[in-house]
Subunit: 143 residues, 2 copies
């Protein structure tokens, strides 16, 4: 279990005088093996299977750590809870969210990206990040 993600996390941890614990390893491992776009609560349930005594607060704290270390990215689809996805060695993409079944389809469009940069520049705006979400009904849910 000495994969790239472990390395990145441990590098961040040692650079910040923090400690590697079995709870942090467990959360990271569960996060890597679960489907994308998990919520804290969902991840908590998954981790609990392997580490029954872990607390929900620890999952929240570890997700913050993963976000700060650059391994995870926070998502917010406006449903009242934050979701997280893998962000390391993962190229940028946007989301289509099916409002029927909740499925999330990822996509990437270089031209849209370029145009966003252009719009920002035209307004003297120094863009640091962006998000594009399309809401609608996926193919399957249309019957």
């Amino acid at each position: 279990m000495s994969n790239k993600e472990q390395e990145v996390l441990e590098k961040y941890i040692s650079q910040h005088n923090l400690k590697i614990t079995k709870q942090r390893r467990a959360v990271l491992e569960a996060f890597l093996n679960c489907e994308d776009h998990v919520s804290a609560e969902e991840l908590y349930k998954i981790v609990s299977a392997k580490e029954p005594k872990i607390g929900l607060a620890t999952v929240y704290r570890t997700l913050s750590l993963l976000t700060e270390s650059g391994l995870a990215a926070e998502l917010d689809f406006g449903d009242g809870q934050k979701r997280y996805e893998m962000n390391y060695a993962h190229e940028h993409h946007d989301h289509m969210i099916c409002t029927e079944c909740g499925k999330i389809i990822e996509f990437h469009n270089e031209v849209i990206e370029k145009l966003q940069e252009e719009v920002a520049q035209k307004n003297g705006f120094k863009m640091t990040s962006h998000k594009l979400d399309l809401f609608g009904i996926c193919k399957e849910c249309q019957q």
Copy 2:
């Protein structure tokens, strides 16, 4: 005060067997006169000036009513609270959010809109709405 927005709201209200009250009028009026992208709490403070006995719950309830009636649109910039903007006789636009000062710049780019439609279609996705937010530093905050 018999403007278009009042008419739209009153039409919605009568069609749904609801009632026109001075609180609802006050919230709508404050909403129309305030800057875009208010939160419920902000609007509550504004309305309180004219209608001191109004409750925060009423502001929330009226904002839902405005959203259902199509007058307002909910926004979520991921800062933990919903914001609202005028949505009636207001063409679609996207947002640039300054992460320094919180300022919001609106923009509209037809080509981006078209490309979004294309991406959706290519995936058999029936898009009902979308949101594009650019985060960064505005011209003023760069000095």
